[in-house]
């Protein structure tokens, strides 16, 4: 029975159609800079780290059960429930480092990524494969670039040719988007406080509401480093404000409430650093889902 009323929600919960997963992640050996966003899927602990398996430039689908086919790195949420629908119910999160606050955790359903895109090129790099998406035509899905190995010191901008959720091909980013010179591994390289930085997601052309495929990636100058272009659906965010104080979020009493978690969703966190975050900072918490 679909959850379309408070009574239906209570019924699903008391019937046991709910589960919880706790996560425990620690940042790496490099500090995070204020105002920048970082991918947390490649951090170790619980669940395990994403090592961006795959063939360079070829689409790699991600899901709950198999991860990227090599690392099962998404946070488990109880398996497939179709024909029922699963919803995100609650979030809790905390950090234990003074430099871990303030900041924002954003939960996304990572549809997949194109790995092994080099920063060391100034010509168009053609991406291959057709994404299999959990959202029809990529509606609501957004792109972000994760630096998977550190970038060199050369300034560069990123340009794309993508297909929007309406099926229009050849769309380009509407503005100049600057990558971060010397970005560390894990940095969503276009997200920061410098001129022409945007984040956590790449801006879309006017009128676009989603992305279903990307044809090419072009850097404005050759640099060193490698990255992955990710396609994900944002689901919810939770802010951390006070050292050691857990933040709780009830996702029923907000609009839109109860974000849907699709069968197979690969749940990962992105971290928006509101402070210079020291190396080896722990972020932990949990989430609860319900289905009906």
């Amino acid at each position: 029975m679909a959850i379309n009323s408070t009574d239906a929600l209570v019924n699903a919960l008391t019937a046991g159609q709910t589960t919880r997963y706790d996560f425990n992640k620690i940042t790496g050996g490099s500090a995070y800079a204020i105002g920048r966003w970082y991918d947390m899927s490649m951090l170790g602990a619980l669940p395990i780290a994403n090592a961006w398996a795959g063939t360079a430039l070829a689409w790699k689908t991600c899901d709950e059960a198999t991860g990227n086919g090599t690392q099962i790195f998404g946070m488990p949420h109880g398996g497939n429930v179709s024909p029922s629908k699963k919803h995100l119910l609650n979030l809790q999160a905390w950090t234990t480092a003074a430099t871990g606050v303030p900041g924002t955790l954003t939960l996304v359903d990572l549809q997949g990524y194109w790995p092994g895109i080099t920063n060391n090129s100034a010509v168009a790099q053609t991406l291959t494969g057709t994404p299999t998406l959990r959202y029809t035509n990529g509606e609501g899905c957004r792109l972000y670039w994760v630096q998977t190995s550190a970038a060199g010191a050369t300034a560069q901008n990123i340009a794309l040719s993508y297909t929007d959720s309406a099926g229009n091909t050849g769309n380009t980013l509407p503005v100049t988007v600057a990558m971060t010179a010397s970005a560390i591994a894990g940095h969503i390289s276009h997200a920061g406080t410098a001129a022409n930085n945007y984040g956590p997601f790449l801006p879309l052309a006017s009128g676009d509401t989603g992305v279903q495929n990307v044809a090419t990636v072009t850097m404005s100058a050759a640099n060193t480093g490698t990255g992955a272009l990710c396609l994900a659906r944002p689901l919810a965010s939770i802010s951390l404000s006070v050292l050691g104080l857990m933040t709780e979020k009830d996702l029923v009493n907000q609009i839109p409430s109860l974000p849907e978690i699709k069968d197979g969703a690969c749940l990962v966190w992105l971290w928006g650093a509101g402070a210079a975050t020291a190396a080896s900072t722990t972020f932990a918490g949990g989430f609860e889902v319900v289905w009906g």
Binding site: T6, D22, G244, S280, E288
Partner: protein, 287 residues
């Protein structure tokens, strides 16, 4: 009858199918932005050092008032935790802070922190609740004898699907009676999380089968197997904190099974220890 809608909750209260159980936990050990098990404080329920036969799974089944007590219910009824209230006994609340509520399913006590030999765990007794381990997490606590350094362990466990796998994780040296679950890939610091590492794809732990220290931390450790119930956030000094799971947790009241051993990890956000007693109430409803 069971609780399946809001009217059922109100009806349960109307017919008296509820209970408020008080607790008091006296000042605890030193901890600074770390989680500590309130069972390591005197009060009511009483102090519990989680001891037993070393490396042997010891099921936790609440008896009388050794944990937060709740009344028995009929075989056709279900019991839920509706609300928790918590406040300090003095103006110095030692807050703000965070509380993590759990059902302790059992534990492996007195794991030797000096041994580098494989320590095979005895699982003759099994999980008393959530038998397949779905949603059950491991938590490492340093108890009885303090660690002297960060450790690194290789742990064999069986997950919720019955698959046995091996993981490696750090065991942090934070202080006696504190949660020291690791999240590093070597014997280095990195404290703050509660849930220990699990194999890829695991949705819970059915049993811990073996532990081998690659870097021994010394001291004695205990691995809990818990089912998380919920969380609550405490306010400032002398401020009564209340968590209504129905209203403030997406209508999700944790179900409390017969024998549930209700415990709390606490983490105060200021100071280095909780110097005042905490009092509170657990409100149960059933139907």
């Amino acid at each position: 009858m069971t609780i399946r809608c809001l009217a059922d909750v109100n009806a349960a209260y109307a017919r008296g199918a509820f209970h408020m159980q008080r607790f008091q936990k006296n000042a605890g050990g030193s901890h600074n932005n770390q989680f500590i098990d309130t069972s390591f404080s005197s009060g009511q329920p009483a102090y519990d050092a989680r001891v037993g036969v070393p490396n042997t799974f010891t099921p936790a089944i609440a008896q009388k008032n050794d944990a937060i007590w709740f009344p028995p219910i009929g075989a056709d009824e279900e019991r839920y935790l509706h609300k928790v209230e918590l406040w300090g006994s003095q103006a110095t609340f030692n807050g703000p802070g965070s509380v993590y509520l759990f059902d302790l399913l059992g534990y492996y006590p007195l794991i030797d922190g000096d041994s580098t030999e494989p320590q095979v765990f005895d699982n003759t007794l099994t999980l008393p609740r959530f038998a397949d381990g779905e949603g059950v997490f491991g938590v490492v606590v340093n108890h009885v004898a303090p660690a002297t350094g960060h450790g690194f362990a290789e742990i064999v466990m069986t997950d919720h699907a019955g698959v046995q796998s091996t993981i490696q994780t750090s065991i942090h040296d934070l202080g006696q009676n504190l949660v020291c679950t690791g999240n590093q890939t070597s014997a280095t610091s990195g404290w703050g999380g509660i849930a220990m590492a699990m194999p890829p794809g695991a949705r819970g732990i059915r049993s811990i089968d073996q532990l081998t220290y690659l870097t021994p931390p010394s001291g004695l450790h205990c691995i809990y197997l818990i089912k998380p119930l919920g969380t609550m956030v405490l306010g400032d000094n002398a401020l009564f904190a209340e968590k209504d799971f129905l209203m403030h947790n997406g209508w999700r009241m944790p179900r409390i099974y017969d024998g549930a051993w209700l415990g709390m990890f606490e983490n105060i956000g200021s100071g280095t220890s909780r110097t005042v007693a905490w009092n509170g109430n657990f409100h149960f409803v059933w139907g």
